[in-house]
Structure formats: C-alpha cells, structure tokens
C-alpha cells in the first residue's frame, strides 16, 4: 500500500515536472515568437507587392546587413497575413559599390519590377547615382543606412540612421562635456561626398560651444596609421574623434596605443566602431577608454521592439546574418513601410499612394530609436538625429550616456521641418 502511494506520488511529481517544463517552454516560445504585420499567422496568398532595395554587397565592404534584416521582416509579414492578404515581393539588388551598376539596378527595380517603394537600402554609391531617378519616378526610399552626404540631401531618400555627420556631432559634444575638452581633432577619410562634410557638424557644434575642432582628412589607402596618429596628436587635442570605417579604425588605435597616446588623449568614434569584433581586435588597452555614438539603442537592449527584431532574425534570417546596427536600421525601415502599407486600401495600392503615405509618416515609435521617427515632405531628410553613447567594456560594450539630440547649423532646416510637423 505504502509502495503504491509512493509510486503514485512519484508519478504525480513527474507529471508536474513535465507539465512545468512544457509550460516553461511554451512561455519561452511565446517570448521568442516574432510579431510582424497583421500577426494573424495566415500565409499571404494575394497578388504580390514589389518592394526593392539597393545594397553594396560585393566590393570594399559588405553593406547588405540592412536588407538581410528587412528581408527577414518581410518574410515574417508574409507568414502573418501579408499586407492585408497580399504578400511582399522583396527584391534586393547589389550595386557592387559601382555608381553605374547602382543606376542600372535601380532603373530595373523602378521601371521593370515596378516597385511601389524601397526599404532597407544601404549603399555607399546609390544615393548620388539614383536620387534623381527616385525623384523623377516618385519612388520613396526608406533606407536602412545612409552614409554619404547625398543620402541626407535628397527629396525621396529618407535613411533611418543618423549618418556619420550627426554621429560625429553627438560623440564630439559628449566628449567635450565628459572630458572638458577645448580642442579636438576629427579624423575622416578623404572620400568624395564624405570627406570634410562628416566632420563639419562637430565643428559647427564646437564653434557654438567654445570648442575648437580641427579636421584631419586622411588617405584611406595609406598603410601608415602611425603618422596619422602622430599628426593628430601634434595638434595637442584633448580628444581625437575617429570618423572612419572599422577596418581603418583598428590599426589607428593600435598605432595610438604603440605610441602611448591612449594615456594622454581621449579617443572617441562614430557608429562604425560599434561592431562586436572591435573590442577584441583593439585589445585590453582600450577597455573603458573608447567611447562611441550609437545610431540606435544598443543591440543588446531589452526593449520589446528590439527583442522582436532579434526574434525575427532568429526565425527568418540566416544564422550568420549580422545582428548589428545596420541590421537594426533594415528592420526599422521594413517596419515603417509595412505599417504604412497596412493603412492603405490593398486594392488601390500603387506607387503614388504609397509615396504620399510614406511622406506622411510621423511619430513612428520604437524602443530601438531615441525619438519617434518621421519622414515628412521636406526637401531632404534626417529623421533620426539622436543617439546614446556606449563604451568598450571587456569584449563588448556598455551604454554610458543616455540619448542626446544633435544641435548644429546644418540641421536648422530639419528642425524647421519638425516644427511645421508639430514635432
């Protein structure tokens, strides 16, 4: 009798453990289940809606992470009712970092594939090459990442990220306050449409706040990073602001460390330094000694939209697809376009109505952004001009300052547009 009771008790306990485990698993599953579009779990089967993207995949660097992330989100949307029943046909083209190829692939997307909009683009050359085409054909581009000046000075191009100029302004302003700096050197590659422009924002901010910011334009192909660091240090700055790609940044920090400059000068960087490989590559000398501006909230942040982005990536993207700030931008661009399309009548959906609706985007909220994003009807767009500051910590990063919004003369027209929109 006693044995039977013990057996029954053991069975009941085992059942409870199993039940608990199952409930735990289902709760974990619920947490990790992505939420996209209509979120009804029904596969979209109607007439596809073409949306395009141009990325610089093959060339000096791989700029395709934004579109890979946007593609994952659109796949998730298609599995969850699509755009009111119509699936998204997301077409991504590689411009190979060649302006001529960029024009060809964009013309094909716009004229042959009849895209209603572009989402998640990320290219170094396409803004300059295609801005006119997008304006002529009235195609709105919600880009995942914009880098050169043209990406922020086109009527139909609205990047979700801040861009290198605003990023430099914000990290420069932070460094001036945190380190009481009165003199800074902003290092920038001598690349057309990036060159001095990307350091001028920090300079403009500095002028208004009594901080001298000097620009040092460098040859990105030069093998000699030591001379660049010595040249920057010879200006006797308290802060050196690196506005360069990570491939150039790592040897510059190595040269600075070899010259012992990390012990005399503070080093800060724009967003390109925010890459999971960077802390390990630069080594322990930069632990708690290298600050960066982030265009979005940290990729590790626990906000619901950031968690949803990661869930979408886990469920719909390749295992090896980057989970970085480029990918965050692509996801946000895809979400903005999806949310806009869902408000339109699926039967009357065409390029003109989509472009008009995208221009009306205002107050788009996400915990990945410091402030609500907007597009507006302005002559140019820089809808994200905020961001927090992070610092290298061990083999990762930690956020050290909350969101700030950039203030510099070139953003005056943007602020005027925001005022008109009541933002």
């Amino acid at each position: 009798m006693t044995n039977t009771l013990i057996q029954r008790g053991a069975r009941a306990a085992a059942l409870l453990v199993l039940l608990g485990a199952a409930m735990g698993a289902s709760s974990a599953f619920a947490q990790n289940k992505p939420n996209c579009g209509l979120g009804n779990g029904k596969k979209a089967t109607g007439e596809p809606i073409a949306i395009g993207a141009v990325v610089g995949k093959t060339g000096p660097d791989d700029f395709s992470a934004s579109a890979a992330s946007a593609a994952a989100y659109f796949r998730c949307v298609n599995d969850n009712g699509g755009i009111n029943g119509r699936p998204v046909n997301y077409i991504v083209a590689d411009d190979q970092w060649n302006p001529e190829t960029a024009s060809q692939v964009a013309a094909k997307l716009v004229r042959d594939n009849k895209v209603v909009a572009m989402a998640g683009s990320s290219s170094f050359v396409e803004c300059g090459a295609n801005a006119k085409l997008y304006a002529q054909e009235d195609v709105m581009v919600i880009a995942g990442t914009g880098v050169p000046r043209e990406c922020f000075f086109s009527k139909n191009y609205a990047p979700v990220n801040t861009g290198p100029r605003v990023s430099a302004t914000l990290v420069g302003a932070y460094a001036a306050t945190a380190y009481k700096a009165k003199k800074m050197v902003c290092v920038i590659p001598n690349i057309p449409s990036l060159g001095n422009w990307a350091c001028e924002g920090a300079k403009g901010w500095g002028k208004a706040h009594g901080v001298e910011v000097e620009t040092l334009a460098i040859d990105p192909g030069s093998a000699d990073a030591t001379s660049v660091m010595l040249q920057a240090a010879s200006k006797k700055p308290e802060v050196i602001l690196l506005n360069v790609p990570k491939g150039i940044m790592v040897p510059m920090l190595a040269a600075a460390e070899q010259q012992g400059l990390n012990k005399k000068i503070h080093f800060v960087s724009t967003t390109p330094g925010y890459n999971s490989d960077v802390p390990k590559a630069i080594g322990p000398a930069w632990n708690n000694a290298f600050d960066l501006h982030l265009e979005f909230l940290p990729v590790e942040s626990a906000g619901p939209d950031n968690s949803n982005w990661k869930a979408v990536m886990n469920a719909y993207a390749d295992k090896d697809a980057p989970r970085d700030s480029f990918a965050q931008g692509g996801y946000l661009a895809a979400r903005i376009v999806t949310d806009t399309l869902l408000k339109l009548d699926p039967k009357k959906l065409d390029r003109a109505s989509v472009s008009a609706a995208l221009r009306k985007v205002s107050g788009f909220k996400s915990d990945m952004l410091c402030k609500p994003f907007y597009v507006g009807n302005g002559a140019r767009h820089n809808g994200n001009s905020s961001g927090p500051i992070a610092q290298v910590s061990g083999n990762g990063f930690k956020q050290i300052a909350a969101c700030e919004t950039a203030q510099e003369p070139e953003l005056d027209d943007i602020r005027a547009d925001e005022k008109k929109l009541g933002l």
């Binding site: 334009a217 030069s222 000699d224 070899q258 590559a281 080594g283």
Partner: protein, 285 residues
Amino acid sequence: MLELLPFLISGLGVGSVYALSGVGLVVLYRASGVLNFAFGALGALGAYVAWTVLDAGLPMWAAWLASVATAMGLSLLYGWFIAPLLAERDSTIRSIGTLGLALVLMGFTEWYWGSSPRRLILPTDAIGIDLADVRLTGTRIISLVVALAMMAAIALLLARTRIGLKMRALANDRGLSAVLGVYVLRVDTVAWLLSGAFAGVSGLLLANIVRLQATLLTFLVIPAFAAAILGRLHSLPATVVAGLVIGVLEATAILLPGFAPFRTAVPFLLALLAIILFPNTQRLA
C-alpha cells in the same frame, strides 16, 4: 626640422619593411628573372597563419615559424610546379604568372579569415625607445635590424657561395648555365625558398606595423617594387636605402597640405622617377 623628426622616425619602421620586401624581390629576380607579384599575398597569408597561432595562445616564436614556413612552403610549391611550366617563356610572362598566384592567395585569405577586423600584437610592441615625441617600438627596431642583416646575408650568399654563383649564372643565361651543368630546378628552388622566407618575415612585420588585412598587405608589394626598381633590380644596398626613403617620404608627406590625403602615391611617383632616370631598368623590368 624638429616638426619632421617624429614622422621621419615613424617612416623608418615601415620603410625598413619595404626595404626587406624589396630585397626579397631582387633576390628572386636576380636568380630567376621573375618579378614576384605574389610576394605581398604570400606575406599576408603567412601573417594570418601567425595571427591564428597567436590567437590559439601559442608563443611568439611559433607565430614567426608558422608565418615563414607558410610563405616558404607556398613559394616553393609555385617554384616547383608552376614556374617550370613557364621556364622557357620570356621574363614578362614568367612575372605575370605570379600575379595569378597573388589573386588566388588573396582570394583564399579573404574567404577563409573573412573581413572582421583583427590585430596582430607582438610582445615586442610593448618595449621601445622614446625619441622626439615618437616611440620606436621593439618591433620597428627588429624590422630595421632584420632588413640590414638579411641584406648582408644575401649579399654574402650571392658573392661568396657556390649556390650564389649559380644563381647569378642563371640570371645571366639560363640555357647556357644548364648546358654548363647547373641544375636549374635546384637553384630555382633555393631562390623561391629565399623569396618565400623574405615574404614571411615581411608579411608578419607589416601586419603588425601597418595592419592585418589581406588586400592591403597584398598590394604593399607596390612600394617594394618601387624600392627594387630604384635599386635597378640589382643592387641590394640601393634597394634597402630606397625602401627606407620611400617609407620616410610617405610618412613625412602627411605634413604637406593638399598632398597629405594622397600620400599613398609616393611609391608610384618614385618608381616613375626611377624608370625615367634609369631607362635600362625599364628594359629589365
């Protein structure tokens, strides 16, 4: 002048490795008449292998050994299996053949190790001498010493040893040397091995002083070519001096307003100048 001094000292570090690479190119050219376009790519692959060895926690000597052995092995394989197929063609075709090797090695290195930023740190970076607001690190001092020592060793090998004599004979007339009983393949093997050793040492030093990036290291063969051309593809001391001058001029060019953002052009300009000044070298090359 005082303003120039830090850049002059900094340029000596890179310049010494350009000099070392230039000597490696001249050695092979003098023995086999081949200008090795794959020199930089061999060094790059060696440097990535060295990084992998260091990343696995192995000591510095193992990294040096791995880098040199990799570059020597690959250079030897090319010298054994591919170079003999082109042995009867003229010097230009034999040189262009190495461009194929360079592209294959560069492609493999980029594919295998990817584009993630890496840094090759050597323990000798932590020591150094402070001179005129610049630190001459232990690795840079090693570069200078190694460049001079290897140049002296090669000069002795070519001038005083039997294999050196055979290498010089082969450079003059391969056909006639073979008829006179010189084992062409054996001498070629030594030349390719030596060139590989130079590539391995230069690659590791450049990956530390400059940066660990396959494309950049592959194309750093250009300043080495400029040094070799300034040495008229023959003189080892002139090649070493030219390498040092190129490094120093490239570093000091940063002080020239307007030219600073284009200072990578320095080796090209000097090579062009050398071709104009030494037209015989143009014919040789």
